[in-house]
Subunit: 345 residues, 2 copies
DNA sequence: TTGTAGGCGTTATCAC
DNA sequence: GTGATAACGCCTACAA
């Protein structure tokens, strides 16, 4: 199947003009007479002429599209971020090309490889859970491909970054549990190679030590694929519940982990918060209709997507090379609901 | 910022060959000597040569990318569909360009206009809630742009379509409520111009008449923007609860409507299912941790995305024009949970 | 004011 | 077996 469309050449032929005259007329050049301009414009409109973006891209050396790579789009947080990305990009006339890594390092490398090589002007990236090495990105960055990181970032590349205040979010969540009187607070978190994991871990530890407690490694469970594989979460949870001193509260440090853990606890008929309290990172808009309603750290996901896109487009459209980079830290919000409220014994 | 990369010309210059020789060598042509081939391939690999996809697109007249337009990506159902689309497309080496209509007709027209004009080889479409007229799509289709519809489809364009068995899904949901003994079953649904709305409405009505009941228009509330605007849903719900004979059960016919309605009922302190039962269409993976756990019609969203993409790529890569079109109907699944189980009085 | 020519990177055709 | 040339559609010096 082919999709034939009218070109500048067709217009030129029809109007007995040269392509350059038509081209100039279409862009309203001063060199062209009013009369010719009108004629060309009218013909173009009638025949619904659209410049071929591919030819324009080839000529200009920019495709007016940006690549996005996330672990998985079917996730409250990431779909909200992409909503933000798409809105800003569309407004500034950029296409958004989405790729999922599915938390796999290989897929991330392949996806980014594919997006780059000039089919994309820049990249918006959140690293996969498996990614420990970012050489593939360093190479591209050195070659001059602009990129902005969000959420799961890396220190090894100097560019704009947008994250939530993960430290503070985790700190507040943990402190809240402490204030409720819980003392054996476990954490289920993503892969230890992710920036978000470390930041949230630090916030959690700081809250514990500020309360005079010593973080216990036994209470910290890493789930390698960030909750995408329910069995991994299940195992982490089972290990926690098998400890001699069972946790009386759990802090789940990512979106999928939070909903999965709540679901697993329900299946195991473990009462929340009576037997174990729960606070999680989640951007689910349904956290208030969970049972129990889920106390949650929420990230400004839409804003994160918008900000990342603004920063990337700044990079793309800047005349001179940018050497000062921003790391924007957006505030999280702790919404306290039932899952963490201590019940009278 | 520029992103310079090596071209076929650079290779030719370096190796003192002509561009055409290099081009052929790279694609393993028989015409080229083994020796030259190895030389070129080795040089290309060393210097990490990637063909410029934009130049290839211009030459071939196809961009190897497909456009997707949905109302909103931040939605369980649609993000799952897009997950499916992306997976298949990536595997077949197509880029996926996402656009959101935000349920606005104007945005849909603009988005599609932008995706077409040859920046995209084909389109995967789910119509916006506001769309009553599909002339913008008919025009493109007649010009030869391949497209596949899913979920919210139109009869006015002959092409492949993929939908869930909405009639049956709604029928079973309603019948289940009837079997539980509910007699005043209301429906909150999307815009009346959407195919899914009509199909689900028919299933609902058929279940009622099969049970000897007469559908009452008062019990059917249309929400124009499919739940994207909570106030609209709230008003629909309020109107239902203001009726002389209040509904004893509600069937919510789309994803966002279901979660929003449950949330609103909770805020109004209306007990579900005791005061009013609820069954909804939703693809939330968290329906079992809602309070009460939500009886739900689930669509095979991932499969829908995969199927739509397979069909589109068939269209794109077919040698001869296709005139026989499929309408694939995928089965829904009714998961009965607490929100619809009649309580002892 | 309009037209010619060349180039963006790749590929296909045809000549050597 | 290799290379010159033209073409995809658009843009832009430069020439007329």
């Amino acid at each position: 199947m082919k999709f034939e469309a009218i070109t500048i050449k067709d217009i030129a032929k029809a109007l007995h003009l040269s392509v350059s005259t038509v081209s100039k007329a279409l862009r309203g050049s001063h060199e062209i007479s009013e009369e010719t301009k009108q004629q060309v414009l009218a013909y173009a409109r009638e025949n619904n002429y659209r410049p071929n973006p591919i030819a324009q891209s080839l000529k200009r050396g920019r495709s007016k599209s940006i690549g996005v790579i996330v672990c998985n789009i079917d996730n409250n947080f990431f779909s909200q971020v992409i909503n933000g990305i798409e809105s800003v990009a569309r407004q500034k006339d950029y296409n958004v090309i989405i790729t999922q890594s599915q938390e796999s390092y290989e897929r991330e490398v392949a996806g980014i490889e594919n997006l780059s090589s000039r089919s994309v002007d820049g990249l918006i990236i959140s690293l996969s859970a498996e990614t420990k090495n970012v050489d593939h990105l360093i190479r591209l960055h050195q070659k001059g491909l602009p990129m902005v990181f969000f959420d799961r970032i890396t220190d090894e590349i100097a560019t704009h970054k947008v994250i939530a205040n993960n430290f503070k979010g985790a700190y507040e969540a943990t402190r809240h549990l402490l204030q409720q009187g819980y003392r054996h607070i476990a954490q289920i978190t993503s892969s230890g190679s992710l920036s978000i994991t470390l930041e949230r871990l630090e916030g959690y530890k700081k809250a514990l030590t500020d309360a005079g407690l010593t973080p216990d490694p036994q209470y910290i469970k890493f789930v390698q694929h960030g909750g995408m594989i329910p069995e991994e979460t299940q195992q982490a949870l089972a290990e926690l519940l098998r400890l001699d001193v069972k946790p009386d509260a759990i802090f789940t440090a990512s979106d999928r982990l939070s909903t999965t853990t709540l679901s697993l606890l329900k299946k195991m008929r473990i009462s929340v918060p009576r037997q174990v309290a729960l606070v999680g990172f989640t951007n689910s808009i349904s956290a208030d209709i969970f049972y129990p309603s889920l106390s949650a750290v929420t990230q400004p996901a839409l804003e994160m997507g918008q900000t990342a896109t603004d920063l990337l487009i700044q990079l793309l459209e800047s005349k001179r090379p940018i050497t000062q980079f921003q790391k924007k830290v957006l505030e999280t919000e702790l919404k306290i609901r039932d899952s963490s409220i201590r019940q009278p014994q």
